[in-house]
């Protein structure tokens, strides 16, 4: 939620708090890029930057959807499973000879349907999203295995892989274009539509939202459907890159998605956060992985670094963020 308060009339302490609140995520990213570039100059190259985005695209796409679950003070643990399911469905439809754009669309719709199901169960049972999506995480993973006989489904249309995992003019990754289109749409949705703003209201105070006339059920359905669609887009990118739909794809990816959302400054208590920072959060995770690879740190340490960063980012937010009470 943008504010146009004039920052410079405040005390230094306030200035720092306000600026930190707005740009801490960017600051972390810039700092990381600076450090990696000092150690390994190639890191800074435009080629590598695009590489980071491409590598991080699955995480970023998942995070864009996860954002809406967390915005409602909930969570969506099923995004990894949705990603695998929609990937398998897309690959199988391509296998039946359906034109690939149609197959991709159907795959994305199946993801939306899975998200809709999450929202439906959450609204109907009034149980915490954690529990419902923990259940659907297993259900959808199992469904994926059933559909694919637990075997990888090859993507039989070479054009699909070439377009979705390819590069425009051999430079700009298609995944980046996909992310920019999605982000543009979601930024418009969260800042300029009533539905988007109502989600913030619900996340902040569901009771007051109900009294203000907001239909809680429909908005919950909407939020989780968006999460499912984003996960399916991640699935579409993933199968294009691998050339086949792995039924085990995306296992554990919900943690990356949640991490990106949280590092991006979204409040776990709901009602606070913006899309562009989530993108930055996803980039931070991609940067850690890419940068540590480049300077020769093993993948084991990368996990430790990401975990530490989550705790650090949230701790800093706790002390300097809008809720720190300063």
């Amino acid at each position: 939620m943008s504010e146009t308060t004039s920052v410079w009339q405040r005390s230094n302490r306030d200035k720092f708090t306000i600026l930190w609140g707005r740009y801490s995520t960017v600051a972390i990213l810039v700092l990381m890029i600076a450090v990696f570039s000092l150690v390994e100059p190639i890191f800074m190259s435009g080629r590598n930057m695009l590489q980071i985005v491409d590598q991080g695209s699955v995480t970023i796409l998942l995070a864009c959807g996860e954002f809406f679950a967390i915005l409602l003070a909930g969570i969506d643990l099923s995004v990894g499973s949705v990603m695998a399911l929609s990937g398998v469905i897309t690959a199988q439809l391509i296998g039946t000879g359906l034109p690939w754009p149609m197959a991709m669309l159907m795959g994305v719709l199946s993801g939306g349907l899975a998200g809709f199901l999450n929202g439906l169960l959450i609204s109907a049972t009034k149980l915490p999203p954690f529990i419902i999506t923990l259940g659907t995480m297993a259900i959808l993973r199992g469904t994926t295995w059933v559909l694919s006989n637990a075997r990888a489904v090859p993507v039989s249309n070479a054009m699909y892989s070439r377009v979705i995992s390819g590069r425009l003019f051999t430079v700009v990754p298609t995944s980046l274009i996909l992310i920019l289109i999605l982000a543009g749409f979601l930024i418009f949705f969260t800042t300029r539509t009533k539905a988007g703003r109502n989600l913030y209201a619900m996340g902040g105070n569901p009771q007051a939202a109900w009294y203000a006339g907001i239909n809680i059920t429909r908005h919950t359905l909407l939020a989780f459907t968006i999460s499912g669609i984003c996960a399916a887009l991640a699935g579409a990118v993933n199968i294009a890159r691998l050339g086949s739909a792995e039924p085990n794809a995306g296992t554990g990816y919900e943690t990356y998605a949640i991490a990106a959302v949280i590092i991006g400054g979204t409040s776990f208590f709901g009602g606070e956060g913006v899309i562009w920072k989530v993108l930055v959060g996803g980039l931070i995770i991609a940067t850690i992985n890419n940068g540590l690879n480049m300077v020769g740190v093993s993948a084991y340490y990368q996990q430790i670094a990401m975990g530490a960063l989550i705790i650090l980012a949230v701790t800093l937010d706790r002390f300097f963020g809008p809720r720190s009470g300063r």
């Binding site: 939620m1 504010e3 146009t4 308060t5 800042t191 300029r192 539509t193 009533k194 539905a195 703003r197 109502n198 913030y200 209201a201 996340g203 902040g204 105070n205 009771q207 007051a208 939202a209 109900w210 009294y211 203000a212 006339g213 907001i214 239909n215 429909r218 908005h219 909407l222 409040s267 709901g270 009602g271 606070e272 809008p322």
Partner: protein
């Protein structure tokens, strides 16, 4: 008689504002002592001082002959003072036994190690439950009990700790008649065993039936203590209220019936949970209809039902002759029924939103479609509207982008009013609109209500403060136990009449006739 507690010249100030002034209060062994007074008269504050939760600004407390200057909650409990609050303090997930002994579990040594002594606790619980007349196994989980049974468990818990004085804060407010009778039997038995019971209630007939002595508080001072034999309901009402108050707002008042057309008509409305039953009334355009009565008598509950926030079993609501179907707040907002809720923080504002966003959401939802889902936001227009309200209502904030939580309670309330004003409405419901709000803002809100009414809006105001309701209303509707006890034009209303109607409910008319016949 043995004097268990003697509170001597107690004064309590909250940041300089006196809440209690020079109150002396005595509790004797084996008596039921009723504590009476309007909302805000100081009953709860006095009892919190007795429990050690508040330290009095001046005055002393003697319990069993020991004088305390700084009574702590632990000293109070150890001396045998036990307070049973309206919202009971049992742990619902634990059993009766565990609740009774929580914090002071009985232990025994087994091979030199302390372990819980369940047989002893079970035996003691059975004894206590029998004493309070609760026929349940000590292993029953408290969640499974009714409110009245939970109350009995609270009493058992007090007795387990050797309570000599049990204070009960409005124990009958959520009980049905048989449960009240059972409670009274137990309370009577406690008295006969030498326990003192302090009974806080608004229901005068209960006080008359049960108490041995009555102490009346008014505006933070003690009016007096009387043996029940010297009391009549009329006398109690007079002592509780007896305040000189005719308001300056009164001159504006007019009886709108006849001259104006009805805006809102409610007939035979009953809530699904039965909290209000068979309600019929009419609200006229341009009038302020005050809704009085005790907390829990059904005022807020009726408003929630009209606004669609609580399900209705039966009843018809019409707005300007059109019959409405209101199933959720959205439906009410759409047809032009607005509500400013009692609980600003819980059901009013969005703490994560700025002043501007909190104002804008009202009109945005009203002008949306499909349950608030459909429609776009125009930020410039939104800020313009917010700016207007900030100026009109003189909301004190740094700018419209300031977060609402940083504002004072009064300004937060103004923001919520601004939300309704930009959205526009035909009927507006205010539930305790001046709760916890400073005097200046209060009068601003009163003026605003009158302006709305003058503009032809029907205004419903729920308030627990009699002076407030007398000052702002054109007519007053009094609730008692889920029903409308009476409706009267404000010119005929006196605080005595309102208190009597609220306390006696449908028996109100009979009560007045009798008292008029007596002299």
């Amino acid at each position: 008689m043995e004097c268990l507690v003697s509170m001597d010249h107690i004064t309590k100030e909250f940041s300089g504002v006196p809440a209690l002034r020079d109150i002396s209060f005595e509790i004797q062994a084996g008596e039921i002592h009723a504590l009476l007074g309007e909302n805000g008269a100081g009953k709860s504050t006095l009892m919190k001082i007795l429990s050690g939760a508040y330290t009095p600004t001046s005055g002393s407390i003697a319990i069993n002959g020991d004088t305390y200057n700084h009574l702590t909650t632990k000293q109070s409990a150890d001396a045998g003072i036990s307070i049973i609050y309206q919202e009971l303090s049992l742990v619902p997930q634990l059993s009766i036994l565990e609740n009774i002994f929580v914090g002071r579990l009985l232990t025994t040594k087994v091979f030199g190690v302390s372990v819980l002594d369940y047989p002893a606790m079970r035996a003691r619980s059975r004894e206590l439950l029998e004493m309070v007349g609760l026929n349940r196994s000590p292993n029953t989980v408290v969640r499974a009990l009714s409110i009245s049974e939970k109350q009995l468990v609270e009493i058992a818990k007090s007795l387990a700790f050797g309570a000599r004085v049990i204070v009960m804060d409005e124990p009958t407010s959520s009980l049905v008649e048989e449960e009240v009778d059972r409670l009274f039997t137990i309370v009577g038995r406690l008295r006969d065993n030498g326990t003192a019971v302090v009974f806080i209630s608004h229901k005068l007939n209960e006080v008359m039936a049960l108490a041995d002595r009555v102490t009346i508080l008014k505006d933070g001072a003690a009016v007096g203590t009387l043996p029940i034999g010297e009391c009549t309901i009329d006398l109690l009402v007079q002592l509780m209220v007896g305040r000189e108050l005719k308001s300056k707002y009164l001159s504006n008042h007019a009886d709108m019936r006849g001259s104006a057309e009805p805006v809102l008509e409610v007939s035979n409305l009953t809530r699904s949970d039965g909290k209000v039953r068979d309600i019929s009334f009419t609200l006229y355009a341009g009038e302020i209809l005050g809704v009085s009565g005790l907390v829990g008598a059904g005022r807020t509950e009726l408003m929630a039902a009209i606004y669609g926030a609580a399900p209705k079993r039966s009843g018809v609501i019409t707005l300007k002759g059109r019959t409405l179907k209101i199933r959720r707040p959205y439906d009410a907002i759409k047809v032009g029924i607005a509500m400013v809720t009692e609980d600003r923080k819980g059901t009013g504002f969005f703490h994560n939103f700025s002043v501007s966003q909190n104002i804008a959401i009202g009109q945005d939802v009203k002008s949306s479609f499909w349950g608030g889902l459909g429609g776009l936001i125009n930020p410039r227009n939104q800020q313009h509207r917010a700016q207007e309200q900030v100026l009109d209502l003189s909301i004190k904030c740094r700018d419209i982008h300031q977060r609402i939580i940083e504002l004072s309670g009064g300004n937060q309330q103004k923001v919520l009013l601004g939300r309704q004003l930009t959205a526009g409405c035909e009927v507006i419901i205010f539930d305790e609109p001046t709760k916890g709000i400073d005097v200046g803002t209060k009068s601003a809100i009163y003026t605003l209500m009158r302006d709305l009414a003058d503009a032809g809006v029907g205004v419903l105001v729920v308030s627990s403060e009699l002076p407030e309701i007398m000052a702002i209303s054109d007519r007053i509707m009094v609730f008692s136990e889920g029903r409308i006890a009476t409706v009267m034009p404000v010119v005929e209303a006196t605080e005595e009449k309102l208190v009597r109607a609220a306390a006696l409910g449908s028996a109100w008319d009979k009560g007045t006739q009798q008292s008029e016949e007596q002299p």
